[in-house]
Symmetry: C2
Subunit: 215 residues, 2 copies
């Protein structure tokens, strides 16, 4: 399914890189560890990095009930939520055609406060999205912790993504230049887990976390 | 030197993680490959990932003269520029105390259009920041390319950073739980460079790019 193309989400620069179908956009969103939430208070924009998770066409964000971002979004204000994966530096023969390979998505909507039932579900979704299996292992939130946490639900109204892949696109005349050109891939990876200093003896690294360790 | 603390840049959530001195903030900014630029047009926030570079207290951004972001910032509108390095998933014994290790900075200011002289200098700074040595090797911008490119200069008015390091901080009662706790480090790295398919024979990977390759 495609998002409608509007003045807001239309990819203007290099339109051939624009993506509007939900499947591709949501793949980019779901694979990102964090997102960047943009909002504006009294003409001052703010961009806050935060953890996110998605259920269908809704994005969940969480934070302390006292946080400026949470309070602003709870009030129903508009936001833009951007995620970006960097995949490579693209070195062309000319400075002008240098680029990056990336997968990036921008989502638009307004915030609303999740109710108590949706809150617990959202916390589970956020936890499981980052660390599948963790919800069943760790101690789940108690009443006091739930009270201190707010969940913002963002029903996605519009979205688009932009992807660049492949090598440089140089000007015809520049291919003769004696300049190295190509791609230097960029990756985000996990390193060997570090036990907490206060970990009790006999607690092994659990199987469900192996996806991080074995990478 | 410290940035003054204002309502805008004051770190409210976990104030002990707040950083206001230029040296630490600029280290975070300079080490990031991209930044996230937040601005607002007619009450709709936007967050755009883009390449940045810094000279003293000025950040340079570049883009096509036709870009929405560039046109908006050239007009002197306010922005927020955020960079974030993810350093680890922090797994606590309780869901509530899960966290991430990170280094993040938020910069505030207004855009202005760089003049022709500053433009070429900024393009060199941006290029060299990402790929030191590249400016002297690749073909530098010609007149037509310079005309198609705009440089936005952002003189930083306020800024702050926030850093989290170390293991989880659990509630006293939870340390007895039989739950693995610790940190799963996250890193961003470069993989082996890929030659452009149209690379002429006899062009070796240059020494000045070894910082990517030998990692």
């Amino acid at each position: 399914m495609e998002f409608p193309r509007t003045e807001r989400n239309n990819v203007k620069r290099v339109p051939s890189r624009g993506i509007y179908d939900k499947e591709n956009i949501y793949t980019i969103v779901d694979q990102a560890l964090i997102c960047f939430v943009g909002f504006s208070i009294e003409n001052q924009p703010f961009v806050i990095p935060t953890i996110h998770a998605r259920k269908n066409d809704t994005i969940y964000l969480h934070g302390a009930t006292t946080s400026r971002m949470i309070k602003h979004l709870e009030a129903g204000n508009r936001l833009c939520l951007t995620v970006t994966h960097l995949d490579g530096l693209v070195l062309a023969r000319s400075v002008f055609h240098h680029s990056m390979n990336y997968r990036s998505a921008m989502l638009y909507g307004s915030g609303r406060q999740a109710d108590e039932k949706e809150k617990l579900l959202a916390l589970e979704i956020i936890t499981e999205k980052l660390i599948p299996g963790r919800w069943k292992d760790a101690r789940t939130p108690n009443e006091k912790e739930l009270k201190a946490t707010s969940i913002i639900a963002v029903d996605i109204e519009e979205a688009s993504a932009k992807i660049r892949t492949g090598g440089p696109n140089d000007d015809e005349d520049d291919y003769n230049l004696k300049v190295w050109a190509g791609v230097i891939p960029i990756c985000q990876d996990f390193n060997k887990p570090v036990d907490d200093k206060l970990l009790q003896p006999g607690i092994d690294f659990p199987d469900y976390l192996n996806k991080f360790y074995e990478k």
